[in-house]
Point group: D2
Chain length 337, copies 4
Amino acid sequence: MIIVMKPDYDEDDLLRIVRRLEDMSLRAHISKGEQRTIVGAIGDERILAEIPMESFPGVERVLPVLKPYKLVSRDFKPENTVVSVDGLDIGGPRVQVIAGPCAVESREVLEEIAESLLPAGVHFLRGGAFKPRTSPYAFQGWGEKALEFLAAVREKTGMKVVTELMDPRDIELLYKYADIIQIGTRNMQNFRLLTEVGNIDKPVILKRGLCATIKEFLMSAEYIMAQGNEKVILCERGIRTFETETRNTLDISAVPLLKLLTHLPVIVDPSHAVGRVDLVPAVSRAAVAAGADGLLVEVHVRPEEAMSDGPQSLRPQPFLSMIEECRRVAEAVGRSL
Amino acid sequence: MIIVMKPDYDEDDLLRIVRRLEDMSLRAHISKGEQRTIVGAIGDERILAEIPMESFPGVERVLPVLKPYKLVSRDFKPENTVVSVDGLDIGGPRVQVIAGPCAVESREVLEEIAESLLPAGVHFLRGGAFKPRTSPYAFQGWGEKALEFLAAVREKTGMKVVTELMDPRDIELLYKYADIIQIGTRNMQNFRLLTEVGNIDKPVILKRGLCATIKEFLMSAEYIMAQGNEKVILCERGIRTFETETRNTLDISAVPLLKLLTHLPVIVDPSHAVGRVDLVPAVSRAAVAAGADGLLVEVHVRPEEAMSDGPQSLRPQPFLSMIEECRRVAEAVGRSL
Amino acid sequence: MIIVMKPDYDEDDLLRIVRRLEDMSLRAHISKGEQRTIVGAIGDERILAEIPMESFPGVERVLPVLKPYKLVSRDFKPENTVVSVDGLDIGGPRVQVIAGPCAVESREVLEEIAESLLPAGVHFLRGGAFKPRTSPYAFQGWGEKALEFLAAVREKTGMKVVTELMDPRDIELLYKYADIIQIGTRNMQNFRLLTEVGNIDKPVILKRGLCATIKEFLMSAEYIMAQGNEKVILCERGIRTFETETRNTLDISAVPLLKLLTHLPVIVDPSHAVGRVDLVPAVSRAAVAAGADGLLVEVHVRPEEAMSDGPQSLRPQPFLSMIEECRRVAEAVGRSL
Amino acid sequence: MIIVMKPDYDEDDLLRIVRRLEDMSLRAHISKGEQRTIVGAIGDERILAEIPMESFPGVERVLPVLKPYKLVSRDFKPENTVVSVDGLDIGGPRVQVIAGPCAVESREVLEEIAESLLPAGVHFLRGGAFKPRTSPYAFQGWGEKALEFLAAVREKTGMKVVTELMDPRDIELLYKYADIIQIGTRNMQNFRLLTEVGNIDKPVILKRGLCATIKEFLMSAEYIMAQGNEKVILCERGIRTFETETRNTLDISAVPLLKLLTHLPVIVDPSHAVGRVDLVPAVSRAAVAAGADGLLVEVHVRPEEAMSDGPQSLRPQPFLSMIEECRRVAEAVGRSL
C-alpha cells in the first residue's frame, strides 16, 4: 500500500502513520520527492486494508498495490480449476452448455424442454424453483414442487440440475435436489448466502452482480472459497450501462480478464446479458471465441407462454442452430463443445 | 400497454394477440397507421406485465403505459406518509437526522459517539451489528453483542436505534432491539428479506441499490407494502457511475422525483454517496434544499480507529457545524431541523 | 408517436393536441382506457419529434413508435452496404483488418510497422496525423508531415491509408492524403465535422462515442448520409462503464444489433475498447465471431517508445498470432480474413 | 508515479526502467517488498505521463501520484478566480443566473423571454444561434441572424449575451456578438475548439461532457488556460447513467469537489441535468446549497412552441418562484442571488 502525503503534512503526521504500521507489525518505507512524500506500507495488504489510512491527518490519498483476494487468484494457484459434476468437467477443454427455462413451470413443459435440448448434446438443465422477481405481483416460482420436477427430469434424461438459491433457509432443500447451486446476480453480495454455499461441497455458479466490478466479483468468490468450497464457477451475465436497446451489456472482456486473474472456470449467460433472442446467438459465439468455459442459455418450447423471461428464451430450433455455430467456433479456438 | 407490430406482421399474428388478451379479460384496441399497426392493450398493467408479448410472432416492441407499482404510488395515496417512531416523525415538516458509526465497535465508543451527537439535536442513532463487507477477511460486526450495546445507549440517551438486517434468520433478534430496521443497498432486491420486513410492524429504511433504477427502487418498496407494512422510508445513497473521485454519485434529482411519484418519506445518506468527509457537508445541504425528509450520516469520534468506513465518517465538531448549516437551509425551504 | 395523457387532463388539453397535430398535417387517434387516455399521433415521426408534446398541458408521457433515422436503416435498404476502397471491400464476406500505430511518429518507424503488418495480409494502415489528446501537454501529432509519411508508405507498400479528421478546416488536406477518413469517438456528435465528411465522396469510419447510445450512433451516421455520402463504416470501440480494469467496456452485442438495424458495415476497435494488450486477442476473436466486418488494431514495433497509446499497442509477433486465430474464427462463421 | 513490478520481473527489466527515467532527467527510487518491488519515479508527472511505462517488460501496473493538471489547480492558485463581465462577477459572493431559451427563435420571442427574466434580477441571457442537434432533420439554429437578435435584446435590456460556439470557423463571428462563449457538452473534448477559445480574451463557459470524469473536465479547462485565457467557468450539467426517468443525472458532488480541486467558478445547468421542468426547481436549490456560483436555466414563454428543449424549459412564472426559493437558500449559505 502506498500512502501519499499532502504537500503541507507535518512530521508528527508521518510519525503517527509509521507508529500505527509498526503496531500492526508492518513496515514503513518513506520516500520524499520534490512534490510529495510517499510512505510504502509493506506487509499483508489484507491487514492494511483494515486501517482507515485516509482518515489520518496529513494523508492525501492511499493506493493499494496488491490485490485484495488470495484464494481465487491465479498467483495463488496457477493451474486452471476444473469443476467436475459426475465426470462432466466445467473448465476443461470442452465448452459446457447449461440450458433450460427461466422458471420451472410444470413437469410436462420441463420435460418437453429437456428433451428438446438433448440433440444439442446439453448435459446440464437449468430451471428456477425460487425466482427473484422485481415485482411482488409476478410469479415467484413453485418452490419445492419445482425441485421435484427437476429431479424427475434428471432421473429420466440423466441431465444434471442447476437451480438458484435465494434464501439461506433453503440451503438444505437445494442441497438435496441440485447438482449445481446458482447464486443469482442480485445476491452476488448477499454475504450470508455466500457463506452458506461456502460450507457445502457442491459446485456453485456465482453470477456477477449487475454493477459489480471484476474485483468485487472475485471478492465474492473469495467469500465462498474462504469457507472451504473450491468448486466455484464464475458467470458473466451482462452489466448495467446507459444502453437501453439491450437488457444489459455483455462485458465480453471480462472473460479473458477473469481467466488471467483467477484459476476458476468462467461461463457466460448470453440470455440475461442481451435480453432478446435475436442477439443471443451472436454473443454466444463471441463468448466461446473469447475463451468462455461454458454457456448458460434460456430455452423454452413456447416462449410466448413462459411465466418468466419469455422475450429472451430461444425456441429449440434456433437453439440447435446456435449450438452448431458455437461448436465450430469452439473448434476454431482449439476446444470442443 | 402498447404493442407495436412489425411492418411485415400478418393478420394471424394480430388475431393471436387479441385472443390472448381476451383470454385474460383484457381489451385490445387496434390502430393501423401508415407505417405501423399498434395494439393498445387495456386493463390491469400488472396482469399485462406477466404476458411475454415480445415473444409473440409479429411483435416489434412493447411499451408500458402505466406504472408497475401501486401501493407506493402517489396516485394511489396522494397525501404524504409520515412514519412515526415514539412521536418522532419522519416525513413531516421537521428534517430528521440519523447519525452514528458505520459499525458498533464497543459500548464505550458507541456511547462516546452518541453523546457527541446530542448537542446537534439528533434523535436517531445508527450503528451496524451485522456488517455486509466486500471482503471475507474484514470485520463483520459484533452481532447480538452490538445490539445490546445499542439498547444500552438507547436506555441512557433516549435515542432511537437504527440498524441493518442482513439475513432473514435474524429478523426476530433485530425486532427485539431496533426501532427502525435498515435494508442495505446490496439487499434492495433480496426479496426474501423484503418479505420478512413486510410482515412486521416496525419502520423500515430501504436503501436504493447501487445501480437500481427509480422504478426498481419503488418496486422493492412495493414488496414491503404488499405484505402489509406501510412504514417504509426510502433512502437515496448514491448510485454507481464511471466517476472515481467519489465513492458513488449522489442522485440528487431522485429526491424530488421520488416525492413526486410516491407518498413515502425520502431520506439521503451523504456519507456512502460521496465516501469522503470533505464533501459530506455540501451534499447534505443540497439534500435538504432538494426536499429530503432526513439525513443518514456516519459520525465517529476517532475515524482513524474506525473498524469500517473511517474515511467517510465525520468527526463530531465538523458534524455539528454541518448540522447548523443544514438547519439554516431547512428553514430557507420552509422546514425545521 | 403515442401521447399518454395524465389521469386528470381535461377535454381542452386533448383538443389543443389534436389541433396542433392537424396543423402539421398529422392525424390523431384517441383511445380512452380505464386508467389512461392515449393519443396515437400518426404521420412522419421526424416531424412529430420536433413538437415538444411533453410541454402541452395534460400530457404525462410521450412514447416514440418509429425510429428517428431513415437512410441508415435496414428497413430503408435491406441489403448490406459494401464500402469499396480500390477493390478492397469492407462489409463483404472478407473480414478486413486495419492496423498501425496510434500516432505517426517518424517515416522510419511507420515503415517498419507497415512492413511488419504485411505478412498478416493487412491492406489498411492506420496512423494519426492529428491526435485528440486529453492533455494539452501531450504530443498532438505531426500534422501534414505525418500525412506525407503515410502517403510515402502507401506508395511503397500499396496499403490504403486511414487517418483521423479533427477539425473542419483540415478536410481538404485529409481528402488529399487519406483513403478512409476516420471520425473519432470524441467527435461522434461534432455535427459540423459530420456535415463536412458527408459532403465528400471518400469512405468514412465513424467511431461510436464513449457514452453514445446505439440510436445516437445511428443518428450521427444519418447526418453523414443525409449530406449524400453513403460510404459510412460504423466502428464499435468500447463504451464507458464503472469497470476500471479495462480502459472501456467493449459492447459486443452492438455488433449484431447494428447489423440488424442498419445496412452499413460494422467494424470493431479492440485496442481502445480494452486498453491493454493482454486482452486484445480474445476480444478480437469475439468481434469476428459476433459478425464484425473488420478490426481496427493498434500495432507498434516498440510500444515502450510509442508517443501515444503504448500500453494497448500489440507488438508484431503477437499481432500475427492473433490474426491467425481470428482467421480460424472467421472461417468458422463462414467468412474469410 | 509509482511503478509496480510483476512478481517475476528480472533485474534487466528494472535497469531498463531506471535508465529510461534517468534519460528524461527523472529519478528512480526502488523499494523491494516481500511481495512486490516498487519504483517511485520522481519528477514532473506530466513528463512521466508521456512514457508508456505499462509497455515495459516486467511492469504490472502504474499508479500516478500527482494530478495531471496545473494551471486550473487550487494548489497552483489558492484563491478563487472571479470572472467579471462588465462589472458582473461570476465566482464572487453573488450567485449569478443565466437564463433564456434553448435556441433563439425570433427577435420577438427572444425579447418577450428576456423581459420576463428581468423581474428575477437576471443579468445574463442565454440563447443558441448554432444548435448541436442529435438529428440532421432537427432545427439547427438561425446562425448569425440569431446573434443579431441577441445583440438587439442586449441593447434594449442591458443583459449580457451567452451563446455557444460549435465550429472553430465561427470564432470571429461569436467574438463580435457574445459576452460569454459557451462550449457545449458534446465539445468538451473538441480540442481545436478549446484552443480557439483559449486564444481569445472573452469568458468561456465549459460544460462537462456527458460522461467526462472530473479529471478530464479539468484537463479540458487546462487546454483553454494553457493558451492564455484564464476566464474559464466550469458548468456541471448532468452525466449519463443508467437512470431513464431523468434526461441525465446531476452530479451534485461535482460542485464541492471542483471547488476543492480548482480555483475556477462552478455553475450548474439544472435544465439539461434533469430534462423535465417539474424537477428543475428542486435541483436548482440543491445546486445553490452545494455552493454553485451560478445557474444556467432554460426559460421560455411558451414551451409548447419551443423549437428545441421545450420539455425542460420553465415558464416565466415558475421560474420567478424558483429564483425566489434559490435566493433564500443562497442567503442561508451566506451568499446573495
